[in-house]
Amino acid sequence: MLQAIADIVRLNGAEKHFGAVRALNGVDFHVGAGECVGLVGHNGAGKSTLMHMVAGTLRPDGGQIAVRGNQEASYSVARALELGIRCVFQELSLCPNLSVAENTRINHPSLAGFNWRRRAAELIRAKLDEIFPGHGISADDIAGDLSIGRRQMVEVARAFTLTREPLHLVILDEPTSSLDAHTAGQLLSFVRRFVAAGGSCILISHVLGEVLQNADRIVVMRDGKVVAADAASAFDRDRLVAAMGGAEGHQKAAAEARKTEAGALRVRARPIRQQDDKELVARTGEIIGLAGLAGHGQTDLLLSIFSAASRARTGIEVTAPVALVAGDRQSDGIFSQWSIAQNIGIRSLARLRSGLLISPQREAELAEFWKKKIGIRTPDMNNNIYSLSGGNQQKALFARALGSDAEIVLMDDPMRGVDIGTKLEVYDLVREEAAKGRTFLWYTTETEELDNCDHVYVFKNGRIVANLGRDELTEEKIIQSSFGDAA
């Protein structure tokens, strides 16, 4: 019981589903008073979902949440703020049209009435001075004019400002991702001071060194579960990486040896921010993986390769037609008003034409061929694309790319939120098409998918940091490279 009172927040069996995806699968998690908890895990491990729950922005589908020993039945953002729990979210949450002082006012209902403007400015200025001495930010600056690093500084400082509401726990989700080494150091030493003074902190970071050095206790998540939780001193880099990646029971899905002779060059590309001479090379019949943490330049490179196919770009050489399978199918992939057949045919209009018009017959033939080949489950290909399940919609997008004349297929993490059965079918298809000489560039955030690749380039901060051959490809290696502390 004593233990429960010393808790700031405790979740028992927290669950969250997004459609068919289980983001959190029965998680037990707690933070004590005067404790800094480090939270690590790969993308999609469920860290952010868990933190949204603690901050009250997401409601759990199952499980309980207790704050300072009291069960909270209707937990919300307002309740969390009242209880002194605040969160600095990963996506910046300043209003770009407001000044720094005005943004501070948004988080403090009590900053109202006469002279609120001066009080808000003083509050944020004092906190910025305390955390980031020499920050060079004025309270009158418009947030949208500040650099992204300075915006992050404002956001962190704002979370620690104190007016009427108490302050017990601050969640910092990747707080240093946009800060340089100097300001990151200032922030982390402030966090240590805050914790020493009795406050609590949850620190999420992809820089493992930061977590190891600053957290008292580390919780490792994988696939929506907590897989390890121990005092920080009990961990070292290798143990963290092993816990995150799950090195045990790891086997290669597609083990059959593949031809090794080098085919004709299809793509040669250098990321814009690449400083050394590493470059991406893809040849006929190869499946090339693009790995690393989400948003580290993989999609950008795919898109620049895509545009290089139609218009010459420096640093990128493309020798064959290209098709792209978009990752975000709702916004980038699907024509929502069109039928399945029309959605498949759009990339091949030139071939479907008879005279000036599109031949419905040829369109139907193409659609019917891919319906059988890729197994799109629908009674009629003329139904609207939304009559399909998510996985089958994705299959239609694959059919669009594979049914075209493209010899190079770019895949921008297309398997997000697709069920395992569909995935296995598509993997087989990709390997089959590669054997026929097509080239695939495959960005994925799911490490198992990389087992289908001949070569994997690991990205960090918009650059290629490693080029792993098929035989040296292990999940640990990929995590090791993408979490490399050297920026």
Partner: protein, 325 residues
Amino acid sequence: MTAIAPGTVPKASPRGSAARARMLRGLLPALSLALVLLAIAWLNPRAISYFGFNLMLNLAIPIALATIAQMFVIAGNELDLSIGTFVGFVGCVTATWLRDAPLIGILVLIGSIGVYALLGALIHLRNLPSIVVTLGMSFVWQGLAILILPKPGGKAPEWLLSIMSFKPPYVPFPILAALLIAAVVHFGLMRTSYGVILRGSGGNAAALRRAGWSLLKTKIVLFALTGLFGVLSGMALIGITTSADANIGNGYTLLSIAGVILGGGEFVGGRVSPIGAVIGALTLALAASPLLTFMHIPPDWQVAANGAILIIVLAARVLISRRER
């Protein structure tokens, strides 16, 4: 104008240049107004007088009020396509009920502000595009106006006529009214603590929700303010024209949107400027007919020339904004 960058002293940094560009853009409404005034002074020096301004800016007050009304919805990333017919509806109520049965007239006008608040709630709760909802409402207001006043006519209440024909010493009344409107709205939206929340709802709604604010309430308040200023605009218009017509405000929809944009506002992002909006409205009012009349452009061509002036000024603004990036 300082409305956009209050107290920001340009500094020698990327931020400084952003602030300078912001200031330049903030000055653009004032510059375009000055340009139009100079052109008028050059074409007809006698127009620049107490009497001349009274005459030229006669219709600027209702346009400025309608522009402010539009500015409130734009601050919340919405658009009101019904403001023109709403002004016409208010005009018809003012010229009939407000004179003959003041109590009913006042209740109807307050009720119409309530309808605006409900529209805001509807748009937020059902996540409807405001363009569609207000386009539909524009026909509702137009229809109601025609029901109230099938033929042009009616008469403004005496008190309203005497307010609108007020002749202060030295400064023409329209200029005084414009200053007052700009100052009041600037204080309310740009300086008060709740004004920050209203503008923040256009800047980053998710951040506001995470900080525990009700977006339903901000949307209702913004729409109700639009209704309030729409009512003021309709009343001011009738105070000047003395009688009403169901179609009297139809041009105000586009004029008000153009005024907000001309005044430095943006369609999304909660970036608006009340002072700029009033200046934009004055510029439009001057460019609309006095300037063109002095240029001896026949009335048949004035609407087209008006549009051309709008395009030129807005294009200049886009050029400056682009340099900012």
